[in-house]
């Protein structure tokens, strides 16, 4: 701590004020943050580090809440917009709340350890983080204030006629028994397809053929509000913000929840405009729950071809993610999970040429009550613990607080039913005491990936006198980061200007030049036009050499400038 104070003091003396303006509050990462606490935390982080952060509202939601973005970076070491950037967001589905905590924890870790952990300090000085902790602010806010369920609140609060009856959102689930929860309903039925588990009456199992039934499941707690014979068929929304992005978007009849048109929701519109205005974004994480996965595209069979150079980078990063967060799997979403259209991953890659991961937080397998003899399963869907095992986890590790026992209820339409089931902060949500490790591992995967953003340096490696007033200046650009300055897809689709490798000097005329096709042989691929301005890119951990034939003398500047890698320069004096 003394060392951090010294660094911060020195930085403060060097500039116009301290980077650390207020004492960082002590946060407790073993609980969930209601939305007003999220907003307060962002303000506290900004207040504590006003010179390392910018807090801005990207826009307002359908219900008028701010969509906050916390920008983290050190503007004293260069303009933020010119630095390589990591974008991180969470909770685009409002019920996937712990995604917000991962974003907050990442921001907190970067700031709290600034000046203390060298690599994080260097990273904050060199790169930028754009952190949008909550995309679906309305539904996440209501997750904490309204009666709910872990499965309620995915949609944005944009009214939609789910059942095509000419009315909007007229039949939502309800908390019938007033316990603050929307649980499951079941009705006793000897012809039903479920019965109680003989070892645990809280658990229902499907009856075998010929076996008498005991229960029929009725779905979420609620009424048939509109008298159409269906219960809870038209709740708030449905606009799935993660089907509303602009790459490969499909209309609602082909992709449920797509919205009227791409980026039709205020949330996606605001964030889309932000991304468009920040071409320095070089990687994107978007956190969801659940399943324990790091997903990438292609999102469906109509996705663009993913060039193998980009896939190779993804594979490398994904394998690192699997080790950083044990149990999580790196998967192609359309292959390992399901096909989607209009999702964020593909928007970032197809539209903006940016690699990224969808982080699906919380594994069912976390709710483990297993002995050594329980062999691990191999498939994503098969590794869910059984309901019986989950109840044992509930009993042994949560004192039974995760499940509301079945209780009789006189339903005004069904008659006598029972209401019970898993409570809101269960199932898709990690128990609080398990949160800190999950947050730290995922945050560190984000941070480690950010260390792989392009890190370009330039050096002049030789100046040869060719006689007759001509010289050949040879320079090398090196990318020490693992991510390319431009992805292969971005180059193929010409999404950005190529990187520029240039030479200029007041007293110098460039008469020829080009990239070195073979740096070892010194073979030049001459540029037919504009040789002072060579268009190129750098793969991860790669070098690029160029040579220019120049006439004149004085100082020349060799410069490598990339949309996503910033500017690197070297100067040399020509006598």
């Amino acid at each position: 701590m003394k060392r951090r104070a010294l660094v911060l003091l020195l930085l403060g003396l060097a500039g116009t004020g301290s980077l650390h303006a207020a004492e960082m509050p002590r946060f407790h990462w073993d609980r969930y943050f209601a939305q007003d606490e999220v907003d307060a935390t962002l303000r506290q982080l900004h207040d504590a580090y006003p010179q390392l952060t910018e807090l801005s509202s990207l826009g307002r939601t359908a219900e008028g809440r701010d969509i906050w973005c916390l920008t983290i970076g050190n503007s004293r070491t260069g303009a933020l917009a010119s630095k390589p950037a990591m974008y991180v967001d969470g909770a685009i589905h409002g019920n996937e709340v712990q995604a917000t905590e991962v974003c907050l924890y990442t921001a907190w870790l970067l700031l709290d350890r600034y000046g203390e952990w060298d690599r994080l300090t260097e990273l904050v000085d060199r790169a930028v983080f754009y952190v949008v902790p909550t995309v679906n602010v309305d539904s996440r806010a209501r997750f904490f204030t309204d009666a709910g369920s872990y499965n309620v609140g995915r949609s944005a609060r944009v009214p939609y006629d789910d059942d095509y009856d000419g009315r909007l959102d007229e039949d939502a689930p309800e908390d019938l028994d007033g316990d603050g929860l929307i649980l499951q309903m079941r009705i006793r039925d000897t012809h039903g397809d479920h019965r109680s588990h003989p070892d645990d009456p809280r658990v229902m199992v499907r009856v075998k053929p010929g076996e008498p039934g005991e229960w029929t499941r009725l779905g979420l707690e609620g009424l048939d509000n509109d008298g159409d014979g269906l219960v809870n068929e038209d709740g708030p929304g449905y606009l799935d913000l993660n089907r509303n992005w602009g790459a490969g978007w499909q209309p609602p009849y082909a992709q449920s929840g797509a919205g009227d048109f791409p980026l039709s929701a205020p949330n996606t519109r605001a964030i889309g405009a932000f991304i468009a205005a920040h071409p320095n974004i070089g990687f994107a994480f978007t956190f969801h729950n659940y399943g324990g996965m790091f997903l990438r595209g292609p999102s469906n069979e109509r996705s663009p071809v993913y060039p193998p150079q980009d896939v190779a980078v993804w594979d490398w990063l994904g394998s690192e993610g699997e080790r950083t967060v044990p149990g999580y799997r790196y998967l192609i979403s359309s292959v390992g999970l399901y096909a989607t259209a209009g999702d964020f991953d593909e928007f970032m890659y197809a539209t903006w040429g940016v690699l990224g991961f969808t982080g699906e937080l919380t594994m069912s397998a976390d709710a483990a009550y297993r002995g050594r003899s329980d062999a691990p399963d191999s498939s994503v869907w098969a590794r869910r613990p059984s309901f019986l095992e989950r109840q044992q986890f509930n009993d042994h590790l949560m004192a039974g607080e995760m499940f509301r026992a079945w209780q009789p209820f006189a339903h005004p339409q069904y008659g006598q039913v029972e209401i019970g089931g898993w409570k809101t902060f269960t199932t898709r949500l990690t128990p609080g005491w398990m949160l800190p490790e999950m947050l730290h591992r995922n945050a560190m995967f984000v941070i480690w990936t950010a260390t792989q953003l392009p890190r370009v340096t330039v050096e002049v490696v030789a100046v040869d006198d060719l006689g007759g007033g001509l010289r050949r200046v040879r320079a090398r650009a090196v990318n020490a980061g693992g991510l390319p300055t431009l992805t292969a897809h971005a180059r193929l689709r010409e999404i950005y200007r190529p990187d520029l490798f240039t030479l200029a000097g007041d007293g110098v005329t460039v008469v020829g030049g080009g990239l070195l096709a073979d740096p070892h042989l010194g073979v030049l691929a001459p540029a037919e036009r504009r040789p002072a301005r060579l268009e190129t890119h750098l793969d991860g951990f790669a070098t690029r050499e160029a040579a220019w034939i120049v006439r004149g003398k004085g100082e020349v500047t060799v410069r490598y400038e990339g949309v996503k890698s910033g500017v690197a320069e070297a100067r040399v004096q020509l006598p």
Binding site: G246, W249, P251, P262, E301, R302, Y338, F347, R493
Partner: protein, 596 residues
């Protein structure tokens, strides 16, 4: 005749070589705003273009004073390069206000003459280059600079025409007989002499000519259906432009819209799109995505006939799960061909329109219109908004029947076929629209020819023809309003089912030639459904409010209630949908079958 009022535009400006010019956007707007003072008209501002121009819709209420009516949305010149379409929209508005009977008088109209005002304005700028893009900055050649290499008027004639640049690698020549530019045919011993480009210099020295002008995006490339990413003029993503968002938000806020009429370069009544070549059949084996299979209790490793997947979906979800929604379940994406059922009214509308063209002297052979581009307004309106959608043009260069047939069979013109037609049009109008080839020297000393067809010559007639074209076309445009569903009545049947119990059946009747919704509308679940509400008796089999999946063209569907009510009780049934209006029928419960 209001159309004659267009004549002053003839005098507004002129170019020595290009002839009398079209009016600019201010004049079109002034004409539109003048109509806003009419009794039934209201001017709506639905948004701003990228250049900050107001997007103005003239709303015209039905002539018969009814409060509720289906609406026709007219979107003119979304491509930005058909100024006659904008004039036609204004002329149509004038004609609608004058109409007191017929289909045009029965509907509400929303008319947007300048859907792409920035693009429209480019057509009246000097030098004139054919360009319908708005003013959103775009780095066309992705070199980090915007607008650094625009076309240049090398011969100072006020037009950006074609440039033939002398080059040893050239493949083009000027035909010695026809005087048009065409590709050399090596098999005939011809040798190319020129590279072909738009008129201009290589301003930025990158070896390319005019590759980065003023940027911009075209509204008619920017809508979500069949959107093409990574194009120069289509935008970053579908509907990322202010014009697109304004149009879509307006449309979705007006569920009364039953038809969209796009006036521009394409004509989907002359060239009706074909049906799907290989439609998804019920017996076709398909693989079900794993998560869907899990939900439907199917095996993801197995192939199932489509009908079996549909049956499983109905069992797992809802019994009325629509067959076409299987596409979504199987991740097959959106449709790209019209539904066969919709082609029935579409082809009928086409036949009538073509007959009317002939009757109005507009049926002579001419060069075919281009199909709607990817991301077009007209395709969005049918495929995603689910309503009747026609694209109509007003002119293309006349030609002989053989040339017209050839042009349909082989649309890309490398032989100069289209140019000959354009040259002939020009010849008939004092040479306007065709520039003779003239030699120019570029700054680097290279020699080039400039000339050929003037900008806009392929889509826009000489202005001298505008009034007569509008006079002939506008009645046809008015008549297109008939292609919509028309709710005229609800027939009631009452059948006694015992003491105080009755079977009440309502038969809403559609006297229009189009079902409600269209088959594509059923898939899209748009517009809002027809709702039938029964009041005055107690329903015994559900609620008094029912919806109808589809009301057939020139036909009816039935909705039945089992109700309890006193003999002689007065009951009403109301059928209503925003795009159809409302019909209410009152009757009494008795054995006579539902007398009023």
């Amino acid at each position: 005749m209001r159309l004659l009022l267009l004549l002053p535009w003839l005098l507004t400006s002129s170019l020595a070589d290009a002839g009398p010019d079209y009016p600019d956007g201010r004049e079109v707007t002034a004409r539109l705003m003048a109509l806003a003072g009419e009794r039934r008209a209201d001017l709506l501002e639905i948004g701003l273009s990228a250049g900050g121009q107001k997007l103005r819709v003239l709303a015209i209420a039905p002539a018969d004073g009814r409060a509720e009516a289906g609406a026709v949305l007219v979107v003119a010149n979304p491509g930005g390069t058909t100024p006659l379409a904008s004039l036609a929209a204004v002329a149509l508005a004038e004609a609608v206000l004058a109409a007191t009977t017929g289909p045009a008088a029965e509907v509400r109209w929303f008319i947007l003459p300048l859907a792409n005002p920035d693009g429209f304005d480019r057509g009246v700028e000097r030098p004139r280059a054919e360009d319908g893009r708005n003013v959103t900055p775009v780095d066309d050649d992705h070199d980090g600079a915007e607008g650094e290499d625009p076309p240049d008027d090398l011969d100072a004639d006020g037009l950006i025409a074609t440039m033939l640049l002398a080059d040893p690698t050239g493949t083009w020549l000027v035909d010695p007989v026809d005087g048009i530019a065409r590709e050399a045919v090596a098999a005939r011993g011809e040798r190319g002499l020129y590279l072909k480009a738009r008129e201009g210099r290589d301003d930025d020295g990158d070896g390319r000519f005019n590759e980065d002008g003023r940027g911009g995006v075209v509204l008619d490339r920017n809508l979500p259906h069949r959107y093409q990413p990574w194009t120069v003029d289509g935008g970053r993503w579908p509907a990322d432009q202010p014009e697109s968002r304004a149009l879509l938000e307006f449309a979705f806020a007006h569920p009364e819209i039953a038809q969209v009429l796009v006036l521009g370069a394409s004509n989907t009544l002359l060239q009706v799109p074909p049906p799907e070549p290989a439609p998804l059949s019920g017996s076709q084996p398909v693989r079900v995505p794993p998560r869907v299979a899990e939900a439907l209790q199917l095996d993801p490793a197995q192939m199932y006939p489509v009908d079996d997947v549909l049956a499983a979906a109905r069992q797992a979800n809802r019994p009325d799960f629509a067959p076409e929604r299987v596409r979504g379940l199987l991740s097959l994406g959106s449709r790209e061909y019209p539904q066969v059922a919709d082609l029935a009214w579409w082809r009928e509308a086409s036949a009538r329109y073509i007959a009317d063209l002939d009757a109005n002297g507009l049926g002579n052979p001419r060069l075919p219109t281009p199909p709607p581009p990817p991301g077009s307004v007209t395709e969005w309106a049918y495929y995603q908004f689910g309503v009747v959608s026609f694209a109509v043009d007003l002119w293309s260069p006349p030609c002989g029947p053989v040339v017209a047939a050839e042009a349909v069979a082989a649309p890309p013109d490398t032989t100069g076929r289209d140019q000959i037609a354009l040259r002939d049009v020009a010849a008939a109008h004092g040479g306007h629209g065709w520039q003779p080839w003239r030699e120019v020297l570029l700054p680097d000393g290279r020699r080039a020819l400039t000339g050929g067809a003037a900008p806009y010559a392929r889509t826009t007639p000489p202005f001298a023809l505008a009034d007569s074209l509008l006079a002939a076309h506008v009645p046809l445009l008015l008549d297109l309003a008939r292609w919509r569903p028309v709710l005229t009545d609800v027939e009631i049947h009452v059948e006694a089912r015992g003491p105080q119990v009755w079977q009440v059946t309502a038969f809403p009747r559609n006297d229009g030639p189009v079902p409600y919704p269209t088959a594509q509308g059923v898939l899209c679940r748009r517009p809002a459904p027809l709702v039938l509400t029964l009041d005055g008796a107690e329903p015994l089999d559900g609620t008094g409010r029912r919806t109808l999946n589809q009301l057939p063209a020139h036909g009816t569907s039935s909705v039945a209630w089992l109700v309890r009510g006193e003999d002689g009780a007065r009951v009403t049934i109301t059928a209503a949908a925003p795009a159809l209006g409302t019909v209410t029928r009152a009757f009494v419960l008795d054995a006579t079958g539902g007398r009023p």
